[in-house]
């Protein structure tokens, strides 16, 4: 673990990403003490104020303080990102591992299920699931999670197929290691690199998908301070007041970007083949 941290530290971009994510996380946790205004409170007198000393990021069309809404929005976005991607990573990876390792009809069944899920456009599939489940934050996360399951399943399956026939797996089998242990201890760690990259990418998509679904009225309720909702509401006022769109946009970009560069660093640090090359 210490070793891992040392290697992670060598990648400065990844550390920057990690620090930004940490800041966003702390912001989300301590939102209550960081915000000068209630993010839900409307103030018609001060609507569409440009950024000034009183409202740092300006106000939106209902006079709500954008800074406060962005700080609270970190909660929603992180929550959606982490839970939805966590769900699809766990479910998808397990499905992919089983499919790739067992082969035969199990593989066929799982692969066909993922094919079916893949054949729908992402947002459409999420829409259908949301329409069935009804709109709430939990269902939103579940829907986004289901949508990204097949990607993880397919990546995991492909990597397993690749690794399964390698000699070190045969060596492990010849040593009497149980199939489940082989899968868990010998195959999964070797398959992690592409999965970690996919996690960071999916995280970005999840934040955007939450925005899109909320915009269509199927996500969280419109008054909730979510970066996606703020951005989609702002599109009507952009020409008039740029700050309504810029700040949530920056927040999304920053979160997505820092997750991506941290993902790259994680992948390099976790891959022993790349170790010691820089030292």
């Amino acid at each position: 673990m210490i070793d891992f941290w040392k290697r992670f530290k060598q990648n400065h971009m990844a550390v920057i990403g990690f620090v930004i994510i940490l800041i966003i996380l702390l912001t989300a946790i301590f939102a209550k003490w960081l915000t000068p205004y209630d993010p839900y409170e409307m103030d018609p007198v001060n609507r569409l104020q440009s950024p000034n000393g009183e409202f740092w990021f300006g106000t939106d069309q209902f006079g709500r303080d954008i800074f406060s809404r962005i700080v609270y929005g970190a909660r929603i976005s992180l929550q959606v990102g982490i839970i939805a991607v966590g769900f699809s990573f766990i479910v998808g990876t397990i499905m992919g591992l089983i499919a790739g390792y067992s082969g035969g009809w199990v593989d066929n069944l799982i692969s066909r299920i993922t094919d079916v899920l893949f054949s729908f456009p992402d947002i459409l599939l999420a829409l259908v699931i949301m329409a069935i489940l009804g709109s709430s934050l939990n269902n939103l996360m579940l829907a986004i999670g289901i949508v990204y399951v097949p990607i993880f399943a397919r990546i995991a399956r492909g990597t397993v197929l690749n690794i399964k026939d390698s000699l070190y797996i045969e060596a492990a089998r010849s040593m009497g290691v149980r199939p489940i242990t082989i899968l868990w201890r010998h195959i999964l760690p070797n398959a992690m690199a592409p999965l970690i990259v996919q996690i960071t990418l999916s995280f970005a998509f999840a934040i955007l998908a939450e925005a899109a679904l909320s915009f269509l009225g199927l996500g969280v309720s419109p008054d909730t301070p979510s970066w996606g909702i703020m951005l989609s509401e702002a599109k009507d006022w952009m020409e008039l007041s740029w700050w309504t769109a810029i700040f949530p946009g920056i927040a999304i970009t920053l979160a997505v970007f820092s997750f991506n560069i941290m993902g790259d660093g994680l992948r390099d640090a976790l891959d022993p083949r790349l170790r010691n090359e820089k030292s």
């Binding site: 390698s166 290691v177 070797n190």
Partner: protein, 325 residues
């Protein structure tokens, strides 16, 4: 005989494919005694590796893989054992040294960790004592400063050291039978010699039986006690090593020996003409018939059984069928 460790009888491994049945291993029999090194030689694709995998039951799970015959290991037939019992035998009683040391270590674990896994599985050893075993194994196979090396990853090892690591892994369970599947093929000559020396030393120390699978007759001459020559899934000749080199009987073995370069000899090498037969399209009769310079009518009717030409020299060729004359 009591000291027979492994007795393989009529082992057959067939693969059903869309093009027909591939008879990768077709009725081979051999014995390995404790402390004996048996060499199995043959060209690529003649079924050597499948033989070793069949013994360990690493093939035979899928419906299209058919393994039959008997593999008596310490008197018990491995082919009828339950998978659960096989798990306990693999790695502890029978160790396999896989073909290519470059890829037979898992890149994400330290070499020590991988060796330590063996005692942790089979002896339920604690992490600490398993680690000690791993270090002891690395020392045994001659890796300098084993304590530090155990903590390194495979890519930090050179080819020869990786092969030593792989051998250490195969030895960690203290097996009584060691199957080495071309352990020296991927190594350069100096390292080859070291690895072969190591195997001889280990044989003397542990009195384990060793099956040395190789296509290199030089390796056979160096360390084996007896040799089985495989051709297209069959054993065509079996003899003690000196006997085989001094007095090869089967036309294929003769051909193999003629195609070896000799130092200072200016004669042209004589390769064995032709290609081995397609294993899913075998005709009746001797499988070597198409390439054999001594072929006659009978060779095309039935595959010859093993004929004894000497007390312990047997050849599958009608040239040595004494009853026929």
């Amino acid at each position: 005989m009591e000291d027979v460790l492994l007795d393989v009888k009529e082992l057959k491994t067939h693969f059903k494919t869309e093009k027909g049945v591939v008879k990768a291993v077709d009725g081979i029999s051999f014995q390995v005694r404790r402390g004996e090194i048996l060499g199995i030689v043959g060209e690529s694709g003649c079924g050597k590796s499948i033989t070793s995998q069949s013994i360990l039951r690493l093939v035979g799970y899928k419906r299209n893989e058919l393994v039959s015959g008997q593999v008596l290991f310490e008197g018990e037939d491995l082919l009828t054992k339950k998978e659960k019992n096989m798990l306990a035998i693999r790695g502890s009683k029978i160790g396999l040294i896989a073909q290519d040391p470059m890829t037979s270590l898992n890149p994400v674990y330290t070499v020590g960790n991988q060796i330590a896994e063996v005692p942790m599985i089979h002896e339920k050893a604690s992490k600490k004592s398993a680690w000690q075993t791993a270090i002891a194994m690395l020392k045994k196979v001659g890796i300098p400063s084993a304590e530090d090396r155990a903590d390194q990853y495979p890519h930090q090892f050179s080819g020869g050291m990786r092969q030593r690591g792989v051998i250490g892994m195969a030895l960690a369970g203290n097996p009584s039978l060691l199957i080495a599947d071309e352990p020296t093929t991927a190594l350069d000559v100096t390292i080859q010699a070291q690895v072969l020396d190591l195997m001889l030393k280990l044989r003397d120390e542990t009195n384990a039986g060793i099956i040395m699978i190789t296509h290199d007759l030089g390796v056979v001459a160096e360390i084996c006690d007896k040799v089985a020559v495989m051709y297209a899934g069959k054993i065509v000749e079996q003899a003690p090593v000196e006997e085989l080199f001094a007095n090869p009987k089967h036309p294929y073995t003769k051909g193999l020996l003629k195609s070896l370069p000799k130092l200072g000899d200016k004669e042209r090498l004589q390769p064995v003409e032709g290609q081995p037969p397609n294993l899913n399209d075998l005709h009746e009769g001797c499988r070597f018939a198409d390439r054999c310079p001594f072929v006659f009518d009978k060779c095309h009717t039935e595959h010859p059984p093993l004929f004894s030409t000497d007390s312990n020299h047997r050849t599958a060729c009608y040239l040595y069928d004494e009853e026929a004359e």
